[in-house]
Symmetry: C3
Subunit: 407 residues, 3 copies
């Protein structure tokens, strides 16, 4: 069944409202149309999904239009599942074009991007044909992704900053994504390379492989904001999030998926999976912030604003604002640090929520505590006395702006 | 002289046995046919040799077939030398095809890969012509390589896991290999770039150079096993060996030639030339394992199984199984470490071969010894007391599985 | 007005001398003709300038010839400004060709490179046409660059070793250069990618972006000397300088613009902006040398000859010849180090200019001083006593060759 062209914006609105009220209908959390790369040997393997436009908790009318266009072209959608993915067929495009009719003319530039997608697909369908390169994805519940397409949609939502870091369920994503050899944006099955190795090599046609991984790189899919710099594409995995002004240097840096920055940050070290770093902080050359899979007992590490991790330092605990970890210092959960009494008082001043039980009248110079007890505190400077080897926590000389609601 | 097509597998077998019994004949340790890249200005310079199939201590009948095909096409092979390399000519291919006749039909997929090479070459000879792009290489003795072709054959043997790491003579390989500018798999003479710089640049045709080195990258030649991941091709040099399950992250990692992993290892640090790392070990972000050329007095470092090198740690001594070097700790040959008596006893328990002379009744808490004396021991945890700055060796909490033959 | 062909070398010489004597004429410090990449959306944005030949404090006759060719083709040059940049037009080329007439025939190979540029441009003008791809640049004063073209000319002068590191005024270069997405040597405006994202992605034509930065990479513009190796192009920014024999490994290394090596150096760590490293030194894996923007209070760090920075060490002060910083050690300006008296005497011996006020008869074992006071000294070994945690400076065991003029 073909939908007739809708004649006005008003009619489009009532049409999509109608759809949304239909029995069982659910608003998707996210949806989009992707061009997919399939396995060269096994076309049922989706190796990559590229979304030109990602909708995340937005554009519910377009979602309704897409769903109606699918249903009217004979596709049944099971809203009881956490996600729905299917091929994009000519009939669907025709229907969608008719539903979006009042917007088609103005769909260019920043306007009506979902409609632009349909217009482009219509063009492709006319010329080279759609083949089976296109898929449409809806996510209804934030459950573990069930398909490569929905996994990519979530990675996009993170990398585009449409979903906060650590907010999405990515359980089993390593199980879903295929390991592939990537050649200039194109994923190649390793098995295909093996099957064709002799012919490719003898003919001088063996492809340039820039990496082998389950994830693509951030820059294959995401156009960063103007002030972001990534000096080597290998340093940022798809699914990372980089706030405006973030610079990623090529020395020893890396930003894994589901980790990144929430403000302008200079990154010259490792931001492991699940780590977030705040505005104005500086991750020095070779500094390592440990991730949930590497030494933090599953506690994701957040680094606050205006915090400095010195070159080759290691941080395994969350840090607040205005902290310093000196170059070459490792602060792990179990690291014992000494805090002199006067510094303890200064630290308590700027960390009203920090409760440290001690007796001001104790006849001691200070206390030795485990670094994990200082998790998330502001204004701490971790250093080592270079003459005694003693690890110290003192009040840093960096500014800490306290939120009003802490008082 | 042209060999007539051999009619049956049985006749092939007797033919190749005959060849192998001929006077002076020697079985090659390794052999294969390579497509070579020659210098743009000086075609006598071999810049790269690409082997679609590598034979290493195997397929001696195919070797005999190749040798016969060469000899019958007029090529004289001096078996007294450590290696033999020559051009692949049409006559040789014709002869080889006739010798392999009983296998030609079934040579596809995983069957008869050497025959597949000959079939493909025959096709190329018919269509575009062989020019001087192809070379055949035999290595008879593991002496210092005398040609780029044999050097590459050895690097392949290592990278394919056909020869154990550190088992091959690579003396003077740096002298043999030409430094080249690499552009998408193609090595370019620097002198050629200089001679053509003006024209290339003004025409907007200056090539994309991804690196300048004597060695190519691992991924230009080797298809890794399915579970290997290499997130940046620059991180693994040709001649490295990566066991199944090894992941190489893009932060600060590097695996040099003649080094690598013998089991699944997470690599986020530097595995210098001649270093091996065992199953289940974890090379933390920025960790450095020193190589024979950098601080170990020529002693190659082996790291055992299930050993953890913390982020930004440095290891200059061999370690056994189940060891830990804490994040940020450097353990060099001369580093003095303190072992408390009770830990010494625990360490001796799991290291039956370790002889440490001391007197249980000594009235001391422990002993200070040089790290090199702990070389290769199992279950050692190197750490620093963060309040006294003292470097300690204690019994690690990681499991050590003792080989039965140690008891 | 068109210049007639000059008939002899002698006449060329008198012609260019005449030009140089004309009123207001100034010799340029540097000049050259570049092919430029312009913005895809905004062609007034110069994204990159590629110079096939760079003249720096040399070839003043060619400069005069170029200037005359411009003036005679109607271009007015304001010599009172610090630089001049304009389009390369057909008339200019014709004039330049006529002025260089006596050299045209012999302009190939290493001879008359500026003339080769003109010959090539003449060819391009005849065939595809010049369009607006070519620009000619003169720098008269070393003031802050006013154009992308002059900024690139300075970066070339540094990277080609024609100007010493830190010798040129690069003020505001970050403000001048556009941030771009680089695809195989071609800079792309981020805004253009955004405007075309939907079409590019749906058609499988989204470009391969290898990095996003304001600067290109060294290897996009510079052909290194034969013995230089750069194992990953991302590791060296345009504007860096690499002396013969320098090797840059792919692990954790990086060489920023306006920094580099003045002799053969093994680089496995970070050489920050404004840092120089001398002949025979070794920057260990993950070692960090801090730059003016990261922890040195604006003091550029020079590292002398034959100095060793251990793996994962950090250096924030200048070092002389024959120094050692042990693996994992951080030496910052404020780091307190202990020098035993006998070592102090040895250090004074090889550092005649170092004045350290102390009393030989003091009844102390040594002195604790701040590392910054040891800035630039030769033969210092920074280490930590692994049993007491004390940072020490001792006389290194590396050879220090004293300049005769120090005595």
């Amino acid at each position: 069944m073909v939908i007739k062209p809708i004649e006005s914006v008003k009619k489009f609105e009532s049409f999509t409202q109608e759809i949304q009220k239909s029995e069982g209908y659910r608003k998707p959390i996210g949806f989009g149309i992707a061009r997919v790369d399939r396995g060269q040997l096994n076309p049922n393997k989706i190796l990559q999904a590229t979304y030109p436009v990602v909708n995340w908790k937005e554009n519910y009318e377009s979602a309704a239009a897409f769903i109606a266009a699918l249903q009217k072209s004979g596709v049944e959608i099971d809203f009881s599942k956490s996600e729905f993915v299917c091929d994009v067929k000519k009939k669907f495009i025709k229907n969608a074009l008719n539903i979006f009719c009042p917007y088609v003319e103005n769909a260019f530039g920043d306007n009506h991007k979902n409609v632009q997608v349909i217009k482009n697909l219509n063009q492709i369908a006319k010329t080279e044909g759609l083949t089976d390169n296109f898929r449409i994805t809806f996510i209804f519940d934030d459950k573990p992704p069930q398909s490569v397409e929905s996994a990519y949609l979530k990675l996009y939502a993170l990398s585009l900053g449409k979903a906060p870091l650590r907010s999405l369920n990515l359980t089993n994503i390593f199980g879903l994504l295929e390991n592939a050899a990537w050649s200039i944006n194109v994923p190649i099955e390793l098995e295909w390379l093996r099957a064709n190795e002799i012919e490719l090599k003898l003919n001088g046609a063996y492809p340039y492989i820039n990496f082998v991984d389950k994830f693509p790189r951030f820059l294959q899919h995401i156009i960063p904001t103007d002030k972001v710099r990534i000096l080597d594409a290998s340093k940022v995995r798809m699914g990372a999030q980089l706030a405006e002004g973030t610079a990623v240097m090529p020395g020893a840096s890396y930003i894994n998926f589901n980790s990144g920055t929430t403000g302008a940050v200079m990154v010259e070290g490792r931001v492991s999976s699940s780590v977030t770093v705040g505005e104005g902080s500086d991750i020095g050359g070779g500094a390592s912030i440990l991730g949930v899979l590497s030494g933090t007992n599953g506690n994701p590490v957040s680094i606050g604003k205006n915090t400095l991790l010195g070159a080759n330092s290691v941080t395994g605990i969350p840090l607040g604002d205005g902290c310093i970890v000196d170059a070459g210092i490792s602060v792990l959960e179990g690291t014992k640090v000494f805090i002199a009494k006067e510094h303890l008082n200064l630290i308590l001043e700027i960390n009203p929520k920090f409760k440290f039980k001690y007796n001001q009248s104790d006849d001691v110079k200070g206390y030795v505590i485990k670094a994990i007890e200082l998790s998330g505190l502001n204004g701490i400077h971790f250093r080592r006395d270079s003459q005694t080897g003693k690890m110290l926590a003192v009040r840093s000389n960096r500014k800490v702006v306290l939120n009003a609601d802490l008082h």
